[in-house]
Symmetry: C2
Subunit: 335 residues, 2 copies
DNA sequence: CTGAAAGCGCTAACAT
DNA sequence: ATGTTAGCGCTTTCAG
């Protein structure tokens, strides 16, 4: 009852006393620094474990003058970010760094998320699909090594790690062209990260096929509901495209369901290609043809860039990862 | 080039010097403590802003002997958690506390997530739908005020904030009963948080309707793919239920698409009820009848319990929030 | 309002 | 191999 909560605070001092050694020795042991015999290490570790001691990260950080923290922002409602985050945890393992995560959501904007990371003195930042203006990201990059993932921008201040979205969009478009489609629409992401590149790839492929006049952009977005909008905006008549490339999988799924609901068969009436290859894309009932982003590799590269290499300066760089077309059952020749 | 990164470190000292005041004064200003005139405050804030000073959270925490941090774990791939998290950010606003978030994913388990929160000396923990065994949560609750959200357990060591899932399941079941259904199946969540209560509510309502012999549990889960499994396990014959209650919306969506894919109409052939009312449930193409969990209220209660009130001890308590049945278009009378 | 001083739980040189 | 001693950037108390 009279238990002192909060004051769990088992300190290094306590461990040292209990183990009958100096505090410095305990420190050495917990830092894996040289200067202690194996028996001593073992003994101290044992005592610490018994006491339930856990080093205080903040104190350690203060003393060490570095945090070994990589700050990460991600969209709380974006499954693709969830998957990237998962991969990030994996990528950071064994590096000595820890992820400090801050969610971006309706009530917690990107700036708030980033501020929090800065207040905690993260050594570098990894921003998943940030929506902030380039100027702001530039300013940020001038203060702290920043890696922007899944978005392209013109900046020499921040590093970038992204899929070659132009290529990805080309792969999607060319796949449809090869199937024989000519009326191919793009559900456009507007100003969303990656959208400009995907537009470009789409346009390039269409033009290369002599279909420059058939470019067909329709407003889309990154959520299912945006896909619905896309689908509903399409007339059922002769002008309806025979194939649609969605901004991402979520959008594609929205399109698909809306189409099917209005009696349009996928892929019989309309072929559909997504982007990302999130988990939901491979569901049997979805089985979406899509452009896969390699989350493992993206995460790995992001972590590499986030951790300042001892030799090379903190120069900002760009990593481009190859996309891969995953063929499933939402694409077929036009009828 | 020779730019000293990392050593941004504008300290209180710097601000004090630049503003021509003592460091203590700067501290007072940034703590909003009494002892400084309004002009001085203004002046110091201005100088600090110009210098781009941001107080160091860790140092502040160390000195203050408290972190004012609420640790939160959430499932990186669970949209419902994403929505709860969003609500948490809102709920914590103005309390002086900050959220310290740790994702739970395949490669980053619950234990790792919690350990990290403890290492950072979060004052209390809010666990969204934790899967850890009760004993472990109990042990945790003995060390740090812990709030378990969206899961019921027998424990006097941790607080609980959850929707009345038994009631929620009853509402779903009774809605179907009223429509005239008798062959109602439950896509069961097994050991998932909340699953036992939902089973119970379902059973109670069925038994109250004299359908105790018609109980029909089929293995489900929390992801779309689990819903698919549920759908595929159901024979198309006469024994097929006329209505299904899913463990959650994601599962319901999986069921719905799988059913439609195999030519079963929803709600004409089979009625469907979800749980949570995540964003996707209200899409036109989904338009899922579901049991809504009040994320705002859950988050608010969780934060209240997480912040130790000055008067009441850190006694563990339970908050139960009412569910609400949201009628949409996936339920209809049996034919 | 200032300035000095102790302390938070660690790290990391430097002694022994 | 082990102990001593300054810090790290801040809070907080206390005497001016």
């Amino acid at each position: 009852m009279g238990r002192d909560r909060d004051v769990d605070a088992i300190t290094m001092e306590d461990v040292a006393r209990e183990a009958g050694v100096s505090r410095a020795l305990v420190s050495i042991v917990f830092r894996d620094a040289p200067g202690a015999s194996d028996v001593t290490r073992d003994h101290i570790r044992r005592v610490a474990a018994r006491l339930g001691y856990r080093p205080d990260r903040r104190a350690r950080q203060l003393g060490r003058k570095r945090t070994q923290l990589i700050g990460v922002t991600f969209g709380a409602l974006q499954p693709f970010h969830g998957e990237l985050l998962d991969a990030m945890y994996q990528a950071v393992e064994g590096t000595g760094y820890e992820l400090h995560v801050s969610a971006v959501s309706q009530r917690h904007g990107e700036r708030a998320a980033i501020d929090s990371l800065m207040d905690h003195r993260c050594e570098s930042l990894v921003l998943l699909g940030p929506r902030l203006p380039t100027a702001e990201l530039d300013a940020l990059g001038a203060n702290v090594p920043t890696v922007v993932v899944a978005r392209q921008l013109r900046s020499s201040a921040v590093s970038q790690v992204r899929t070659d979205d132009t290529l990805g969009a080309r792969m999607a478009t060319e796949h449809l062209l090869e199937l024989g489609h000519t009326a191919i629409a793009l559900s456009d992401g507007g100003a969303l990260p990656g959208a400009a590149q995907r537009r470009r790839g789409y346009r390039e492929s269409m033009e290369a096929a002599g279909l420059g006049a058939r470019l067909h952009l329709v407003p889309g977005g990154q959520r299912e509901v945006d896909g619905e909008r896309t689908a509903l905006s399409q007339a059922k008549g002769a002008r309806r495209p025979s194939a649609v490339i969605a901004f991402n999988d979520l959008c594609a799924i929205g399109i698909m369901h809306a189409l099917r609901l209005q009696g349009t068969a996928v892929p019989d009436d309309v072929s559909l290609v997504g982007y990302d290859d999130i988990g939901a894309a491979s569901l049997r009932a979805v089985d979406l043809t899509t452009v896969r982003q390699d989350t493992e590799l993206l995460a790995q590269r992001a972590v590499q860039r986030a951790i300042p290499a001892p030799d090379r300066g903190a120069a900002a760089g760009v990593d481009i990862v190859a996309p891969r077309l995953v063929l499933r059952s939402t694409t077929a020749p036009p009828r």
